[in-house]
Symmetry: C2
Subunit: 351 residues, 2 copies
């Protein structure tokens, strides 16, 4: 293993920062590393391990020359603009935005669920929305016992999903509120401190928000269940890190809570934390900074003969974003993607 | 109208305080007012309108002598001990605890929904849990169009539902967290600042919490639907006042969002606040201190052919507790309860 050349676009953002620290934690085989961000952050010096990198601005496809993997965590517009340039330069793009997720030739991947979909990518691989990833991992574990017939989810999403400015806004607004002052919202349409906001992203014609609809369409794509019945209500809560979800699942036959716990415990990347007699269950402040999807409050849905209810928490910056991307990169390496590429497209990369 | 003699047990608590201010706001016809609280608060002076009352401790049935209505907002143990004494003294008890709600001869009442159940009470009337009240008002409006077949709810409940100490804990813990300090939880089992807690009240054998199960059994009783399929996940969020609920309802026939909005708009005590194109929907910080149940995000449930999804917010101290109790008292007065009682049980009250 010689390692891969890797570039991070959005390197100074919350997800980019977590991405860089996970690279180190996992001893990711990076041969070289380039950090990109907006003009505003260009020139910043960012320490990674025992080296310091200077953040650059992308100037064109040449910025990505020689890169094997380009990870992009920025807004959708940036992804749309830069991903084709990176592909043109011969890199594989792993994109954190919603720009390409639903494109038929773009694999949308959670490695524990559908790593096989990586084969046949055409340069761009998308990672799901941070509220979709934990859900599909739970559903994938449960469908080993019975078909998933319907899913109802209500989310409790942290502000770090919006980015660094939103985390600062929560902190500043909270401080102001405690002092009896008001601070006008900027990152959100309404105050987030000591409040909950039943809107994430814009509204669609059907009354759902884009965030809610992403959960529907992305879950269907990842699970290869194009007709899965799913409804979500996505809500922002004044929490820094970790998204939580109240999930009710209807299955094709009854699955007991015990059976569900056993299936979830066996699922890679999932941990059962379900000890009501000890008041133990997943919570954001307990689990921020961890890598797994945690499931608790697993019980028979009292309102449906084949239903299960549960409570799911995962770190939205890690498994919900950066970690999932790195796991995809690791999977590509395992599949020999870059050895093959070096051999077959070596000349193309010199463009 | 000569007015009624009224006593408030738990007068210094959050709900008691709101109760006293609503009495004034609504010009409640109180002829006399007595305030009771625990030994710890006895002797405190509490201004109500232009008078000041001294808080007393209940010493026995004689404390309630001459009272027409005794409102109790304390813990379940206090209600169990004091309600029979108040009844013995000839008063009607309106109780905010879960002590008597499910007793067959105790009406459990939201006046807009089942005022008729007040007739035939035997001295004790219960008000529902603060997460049940908004839900039954919404369901009652919707069942004018079709039968309710199943309900799935996830709640976002504020700390004021736990009481004054919990509000202080949220504020102090938030302040500490902003300063990088930790404060050990007291009112809750886990930190509530910048966190969400998927447990309210104790766990039952079936994996639901008592809070969740109250929503099930109380909703069934109030709506006279003993077999209604209902499942809830009750979650505490770092919000001061107002409970929010993501609600999905399955009906016996399709009801359009437009029809649902019209029915909800007609329902007394309910307001539709549903303007997604203007980013308007119910939120706790917007609605704390208001009297109505607000409903927004009304949409066709994309996962069920006869389903509706919506978002409900109500002030848990007002409609969820004190206001509902006062509305019951007003209803009793309207029904002539105290005129009749004065005539028929006048001597009994002199005991």
């Amino acid at each position: 293993m010689q390692g891969v050349n890797i570039a991070v676009v959005g390197a100074t953002g919350l997800v980019g920062t977590v991405f860089l620290s996970i690279l180190e934690e996992r001893h990711f085989p990076a041969r070289s590393l380039k950090l990109f961000a907006s003009a505003r952050s260009a020139g910043k010096r960012v320490p990674v391990g025992d080296r310091t990198y200077v953040v650059e601005e992308v100037t064109g496809a040449e910025s990505f020359r020689g890169m094997d993997i380009v990870f992009i965590s920025a807004d959708t517009g940036v992804s749309k603009r830069l991903a084709p340039l990176a592909v043109q330069a011969g890199a594989v793009v792993i994109d954190d935005s919603s720009a390409f997720r639903m494109e038929p030739d773009v694999p949308l991947v959670v490695p524990e669920v559908n790593a096989a979909d990586l084969r046949g990518h055409r340069g761009i691989i998308a990672i799901p929305n941070c509220s979709t990833t934990p859900l599909v991992m739970v559903l994938h574990a449960l469908r080993q016992a019975a078909a998933i017939e319907r899913v109802v989810a209500a989310t409790y999403q942290s502000v770090s999903g919006t980015g660094r400015a939103a985390v600062e806004e929560l902190m500043e607004q909270s401080r102001a509120a405690l002092e009896g002052r008001d601070i006008a919202p900027k990152a959100y349409l309404h105050p987030i401190a000591f409040n909950v906001l039943p809107q994430i992203d814009d509204f669609l014609e059907n009354g759902y928000t884009k965030e809610e609809w992403k959960m529907v369409t992305e879950t269907r794509k990842i699970l290869h269940l194009p007709d899965l019945a799913l409804s979500a209500t996505c809500v922002r809560v004044p929490v820094k890190v970790c998204h939580s979800e109240a999930v009710q699942v209807e299955l094709s036959k009854p699955v007991s809570p015990e059976e569900a716990r056993a299936l979830l415990a066996k699922m890679p990347g999932v941990r059962v934390l379900d000890e009501p007699e000890r008041n133990e269950y997943p919570m954001p402040r307990l689990l921020a900074g961890t890598d797994n999807v945690y499931v608790g409050r697993i019980r028979k849905d009292a309102s449906h003969p084949r239903g299960l209810a549960m409570w799911v928490v995962a770190d939205n910056l890690r498994k919900g974003a950066a970690l999932n991307a790195i796991q995809i990169a690791e999977e590509l390496i395992k599949q020999g993607a870059f050895q093959a590429k070096s051999a077959s497209t070596g000349s193309a990369r010199a463009v």
